[in-house]
């Protein structure tokens, strides 16, 4: 963690988060390299079949920093560069882990780490309903904790424009900081809080990153080829604390590309998903 400024008694730490769906592959060397290169504080992995000790041995080679942050959600594994007692699970299911991040002298954050079901198993309607349930749980926890400084991160298996992500009863995540800054909107006399979804601006050809996080070429009439299933959603209250670079879709680790020669995620050398990195000043 980086402590860029101190005001009075409070220190504001820059906390670095990494999420990666590693596609059940033994990518410990790449994960360790990513963690070192970007000084990651919270590593969140989906489809991780690596035993915890294998990753910890790599992450802590030379100097012991990282801890395995236990949870009952088997879809995501979490490692922290601080004691795991500061990242306590509050609610979990087989696909969702809501954890309260309470670093000393920092503001508290609710971290929702998710790997929602694949479209291979769930219909689009069922996916949207998953988001409704997730949204309800988040709001319950926010009410219990007394704040709404929440970050949702993970493989949603949906694009930012799909109903479960954008709908009021779902995650209600919008593409614009300005819109999100309204806090909430009322539809049919019911208020719905916003998330800001910075991943919208990571779509398509850009000079500084790949066109998405996941490539899927399906033989049907409508296909997007590049998708952004891996996302970071932030409550408006936290938006000013998001690093100005915003979430970054990583396409290389050191000198190693995570892309195959055809420019798509290298499923053989790495994963079919690309990792995302973001920083928050807490």
């Amino acid at each position: 963690m980086v402590f860029p400024e101190t005001r009075g008694r409070a220190a504001f730490a820059m906390v670095t988060f990494l999420f990666w769906n590693i596609h059940k592959r033994p990518l410990q060397d790449l994960i360790v390299a990513l963690a070192r290169e970007h000084e990651v504080d919270v590593i969140m992995l989906a489809e991780c079949r690596l035993p915890e000790h294998v990753l910890l041995e790599g992450l802590n080679e030379g100097e012991a920093h990282y801890h395995f942050a236990h949870g009952l959600c088997e879809a995501v594994r979490v490692f922290t560069r601080f004691s795991s007692e500061f990242l306590v699970p509050r609610f979990e299911s087989d696909r969702i882990s809501l954890r309260h991040l309470t670093l000393p002298a920092c503001i508290e954050v609710l971290l929702a780490i998710v790997h929602l079901p694949s479209k291979l198993h769930f219909s689009e309607k069922s996916m949207a309903f998953e988001c409704v349930a997730l949204s309800k749980k988040i709001r319950e926890q926010e009410a219990a904790l007394g704040h709404s400084r929440t970050v949702v991160v993970g493989d949603l298996n949906m694009n930012p424009f799909e109903d479960g992500v954008t709908g009021t009863e779902g995650l209600h995540a919008v593409m614009s900081r300005e819109v999100a800054s309204r806090g909430s909107r009322t539809v049919q006399e019911r208020p719905y809080p916003f998330f800001y979804n910075p991943m919208w601006s990571r779509f398509g050809d850009r000079p500084d990153g790949p066109p998405g996080t996941y490539y899927y070429d399906r033989s049907e009439h409508v296909t997007y080829f590049w998708n952004i299933f891996d996302q970071v959603l932030i409550r408006p209250e936290l938006v000013p604390r998001l690093d100005s670079d915003g979430p970054t879709v990583l396409s290389k680790v050191g000198g190693t590309s995570l892309l195959a020669p055809d420019g798509r995620p290298d499923q053989r050398g790495a994963s079919d998903h690309l990792p995302i990195l973001f920083r928050l000043t807490l």
Partner: protein, 126 residues
């Protein structure tokens, strides 16, 4: 005194359907607390779902550490059956009370459920 001729409601509304899935869920939820001395609780929450049905979520709760784990949920329409269940990213449909009872027996008695309960009990007593 209401005029009986203007009361169109059935006289035998009763106290709810004892065979409804949610009744079975609540019964099982209440039994868990007795087995683990209320260190761990099972709770059933109900939402109106999709405009035409109900979703019942079955959670295990550890009050001492403010933690809950969603074990599964079920959905049904205005009629209590068929029931659609969602568990570990799998879904299925059960046509009758008998099928639902068997599914519930298998789910609550599974190794997975036992392992989760044991882990939660350890957390609560740690």
């Amino acid at each position: 005194m209401p005029n009986e001729n203007l009361d169109f409601w059935p006289a035998d509304l009763g106290g709810g359907d004892p065979d409804a899935p949610v009744v079975l869920l609540r019964t099982q939820a209440s039994l868990l607390g007795q087995k683990v001395k209320s260190i761990l609780e099972a709770r059933v929450s109900t939402d109106a779902f999709g405009g035409s049905g109900f979703r019942h979520t079955f959670e295990l709760v550890v009050p001492a550490i403010s933690y809950s784990y969603r074990l599964f949920w079920i959905q049904h329409g205005v009629d209590p059956y068929p029931v659609t269940w969602t568990l570990e990213s799998q879904q299925g449909t059960l046509a009758s009370k008998e099928e639902f009872t068997e599914w519930l027996r298998g789910t609550l008695g599974s190794d997975r459920t036992k392992r989760i309960i044991q882990t939660l009990l350890a957390q609560a007593s740690g």
